[in-house]
């Protein structure tokens, strides 16, 4: 992230200088401790390091507490920003104390659910688990999450004994690998996402490859064998690699899929090793499947953890048979969406590398409760809301496939925003197979800052425009908010009460100005009401938002007293 870069260069500088002086060890490291990230000869000078770390912890926690007191938000991000400013090395300083070991989870899709599965499995195995659940998965959020569990001495509280799971944004992987000693790094997939933020898929893969060369070989990799880009990460790695994948080819799109599915956007269709076209004998979705390169011989590695006999019994019951080198058994995933097979396999591969008891693997997955926006239920006015986040073409296609694979007609609310956290470029919606929802919705409401664009996409997919309730959200311009005395930070989950009131006021004015020019009604709350009212009591409304749409939905439901504050911290 750009804002983290100055801190990084300072850190590198400092490391260079200290490296020359060399020194003793910073802190007594338990025998079970893990390899340090990049530099095992890392310097020490206990007192100064701890003093600075202590200051950073104090500053960060004070800022976080103030932020929570003012109800500006969970305060994790601000705690991280302040702590990093006071001591740029704070993440490394604290994470080397994580005696229970650390697990990194990344990928374009499925990070939250995969981390959730791993946490559930480890808890069921009787281990203490800690996740960076409160903060964002960017560097400042991770720094903040660590700072919040640290003492003013600059050392971690007893939480340091827990196994730590870091859910990490794709772009932050190199920084985490440099700063956090890892036991396992899980790479689940790499899809086209947020191109306007990160550049292109290739550059993310290159950064991952470079970061992996800095890993000590005690770190194990859990890699998706079915993703050619991810699998390539294991090719030159000297440490342990656990591949996971789907062996059951009955879900091959080539046989079962519709024509438009076979034309689905494919993100990595060329061999990551030689650049030739890959051939697929089975493709499950996007570029995930059984592939080989006729030019250089690169092929899908045989997975050690694999799923066979997959079946979807009910909307959220995915049954699969799992084989590992040591076990075989049936596991039922209590979530909708074929993609969750990969999320579960990633967690099982991680458990395999940690030699976790099989019973804990089974119960961890089967008892899993989905996170917000990942298929959980909310009861509203006698209707059931099920919210399924869809933030990129692959994610959206898979959500639509999940909802419309049987011929059941659905009540649907689609929400497309173009805030920075969503991606400002919405052209990706033209790569989503909306054709499959045509004639399969009972009621259809479309909202968000780009509702009209989405409605247009649906029209060109063959949906009659008059059957769509279009209720756009007018994006607030910075100037409107300044006049109003409030500042907007896009993607911030919760704001101070005063600020929220000011924002709502600004939104009302923007909506009025919009209507005054003769346009249709607007607003997320109204869209939600319309969609709920058009769904008969007792039935289910499926809400499919992009990322900030999910946050907005959450805020709106919370305002109606329907969901808990999700930044609430659970002690380690």
């Amino acid at each position: 992230m750009p804002e983290d870069q100055p801190a990084q260069s300072v850190r590198r500088e400092r490391r260079k200088r200290r490296g020359k002086k060399g020194a003793a060890v910073m802190r007594a490291v338990p025998a079970t401790a893990l390899p340090r990230a990049s530099d095992s000869k890392r310097p020490a000078r206990l007192r100064r390091g701890s003093l600075r770390a202590g200051m950073a912890v104090a500053g960060g926690r004070a800022a976080g507490a103030l932020s929570r007191r003012l109800r500006l938000g969970g305060g994790t991000g601000i705690a991280g920003v302040v702590a990093q400013r006071l001591y740029p090395d704070i993440v490394h300083h604290l994470s080397t104390q994580l005696a229970g070991g650390s697990i990194l989870v990344t990928g374009t899709n499925g990070k939250t659910t995969t981390s959730g599965f791993i946490a559930a499995i480890l808890s069921d195995a009787g281990l203490r688990v800690w996740r960076n659940r409160e903060g964002s998965n960017l560097m400042r959020g991770i720094a903040g999450a660590l700072v919040i569990r640290a003492r003013l001495s600059g050392n971690l509280r007893r939480g340091g004994q827990a196994t730590s799971i870091f859910e990490v944004d794709e772009a932050v992987v190199p920084q985490i690998m440099r700063d956090v000693p890892l036991r396992i790094a899980v790479f689940n997939n790499l899809f086209r996402d947020q191109l306007d933020r990160y550049g292109e898929v290739d550059s993310v893969l290159t950064r991952w490859q470079q970061a992996i060369t800095t890993l000590p070989h005690q770190t194990a990799l859990a890699l998706n064998a079915d993703d050619p880009a991810v699998a390539e990460l294991g090719a030159a790695y000297a440490g342990q690699v656990v591949y996971y994948g789907i062996d059951d080819t009955t879900f091959d799109l080539g046989w079962r899929g519709t024509i438009s599915e076979r034309h689905q956007t494919v993100d990595t269709r060329i061999c990551p090793r030689c650049g030739s076209d890959l051939e697929y004998t089975a493709r499950f979705f996007s570029h995930l499947g059984h592939y080989n390169c006729s030019n250089c011989g690169n092929r899908r590695p045989a997975p050690q953890v694999r799923a066979t006999n997959i079946s979807m019994n009910a909307f959220d019951q995915l049954r699969m048979n799992v084989l590992t080198p040591t076990h075989e058994g049936e596991i039922v995933i209590p979530l909708p969406g074929f993609y969750n097979v990969y999320n579960a396999l990633a967690a099982i591969a991680t458990a395999q590398a940690l030699q976790i008891d099989w019973a804990a693997v089974v119960s961890g997955i089967q008892q899993f409760k989905p996170a917000f926006g990942r298929g959980e239920r909310v009861q509203v006015a006698g209707r059931t809301l099920r919210i399924l986040l869809a933030k990129n073409p692959t994610g959206f296609n898979e959500v639509l496939r999940t909802l419309f694979s049987d011929d059941e007609p659905r009540h649907l609310l689609l929400m497309l925003n173009d805030n920075i956290a969503d991606r400002r470029d919405v052209s990706w919606i033209w790569d989503v197979d909306f054709e499959r929802i045509t004639n399969h919705t009972t009621t259809l409401t479309v909202t968000g800052t780009r509702a009209l664009e989405l409605a247009l996409r649906l029209k060109y997919a063959g949906v009659a425009p008059e059957t769509i309730d279009i209720i756009p959200v007018i994006p607030l311009r910075v100037s409107q908010l300044k006049n109003n005395g409030s500042i907007r930070t896009a993607g911030t989950p919760v704001r101070a009460n005063g600020e929220l009131t000011a924002m709502r006021e600004a939104q009302t004015q923007a909506d009025k100005a919009w209507h005054a020019r003769g346009h249709r009604v607007t607003g997320l709350a109204r869209a939600l009401d319309t969609a709920i009212e058009s769904t008969p009591p007792g039935e289910t409304l499926f809400v499919v938002p992009t990322y900030t749409g999910l946050l907005d939905t959450h805020r709106e439901l919370e305002r109606r007293g329907l969901t808990p504050h999700y930044w609430e911290e659970k002690g380690p």
Partner: protein, 267 residues
């Protein structure tokens, strides 16, 4: 090669879609889909033929050509194939007034060359008297929503390009109203040579710019059938209320709503 058609029609057009598997980064499916659906609603048959690497381009077989944008890694083999397999055919088609739409990377490939921040130039076809220079990572990419003035009407879209394009003796597609355009210096956007249009606008471009989609169809139909000199929108009117609402919504977003009334030619 893939084909689609819907049978019996007085008018039949064939669209050549260049490199559908390599250059499909910015929702280019939306452009093809828009042309397809707008023809379908009018009873015009539009066949879409994909032209991949290794396929030759025979200009007589097509009435309309489209080329989109892709990732850098995928653009190099495409550039070579374009010169070797399709260059002469594409030149002949353009000189014969075939409408061509080139977006993003496709636009760059149809100009003289693309000069990366490091490494060798990538040669283009030189249909547009223009060239593109990537000045290095220190120069921010041109990213964001954009609106331009195209012959007195507006076009809206999204741009995302690192290279800066400079025009020689050639007309731009339009003048930038909001956004970066070719190079963020001279307020020009895109390029036009005969009926070949190069532009950085995607998003997709054609769905919410129905007048531009119809302009391309008109050019193709006039070239093939004469159409008595009329515009396709006049011969086969469509209900474009939703398209124009999406268009106007973006103009409002860009603070151009006052300009919109004056500049827009609502049907």
């Amino acid at each position: 090669m893939s084909e689609r058609s819907n049978g019996r029609s007085a008018y039949t057009l064939t669209l050549g879609h260049l490199y559908p598997d390599q250059l499909n980064l910015y929702g280019d499916r939306g452009n093809i889909l828009t042309l397809q659906r707008r023809c379908e609603m009018r009873g015009i048959e539009l066949r879409v033929v994909g032209l991949g690497i290794g396929d030759a381009l025979a200009p007589d077989e097509y009435d309309l050509l489209f080329i989109g944008g892709g990732q850098d890694k995928e653009q190099a083999p495409v550039a070579q194939d374009l010169l070797e397999m399709k260059g002469i055919g594409l030149w002949a088609a353009v000189e014969d007034d075939m409408p061509v739409l080139a977006v993003c990377g496709g636009y760059q490939l149809l100009a003289h060359y693309y000069r990366p921040a490091s490494g060798a130039d990538m040669r283009g076809l030189g249909i547009f008297d223009a060239w593109t220079i990537h000045k290095g990572a220190h120069m921010p990419r041109c990213i964001g929503n954009i609106a331009i003035n195209w012959n007195g009407a507006t076009l809206v879209g999204f741009e995302n390009h690192g290279g800066r394009t400079y025009l020689g003796r050639i007309k731009p597609l339009g003048k930038v109203l909001k956004g970066h355009g070719n190079n963020n210096e001279d307020r020009t956007e895109g390029a036009v040579y005969r009926h070949a249009y190069g532009t950085y606008l995607h998003g997709s471009l054609l769905p919410k710019n129905p007048h531009f989609a119809d302009h391309l169809l008109t050019l193709a139909l006039k070239r093939k059938y004469g159409l008595n000199g009329q515009e396709v929108a006049a011969v086969f009117p469509l209900d474009d209320a939703l398209e124009w609402e999406a268009h106007a919504f973006m103009l409002e977003r860009l603070g151009l709503h006052s300009a919109a009334g004056a500049a827009l030619r609502y049907p």
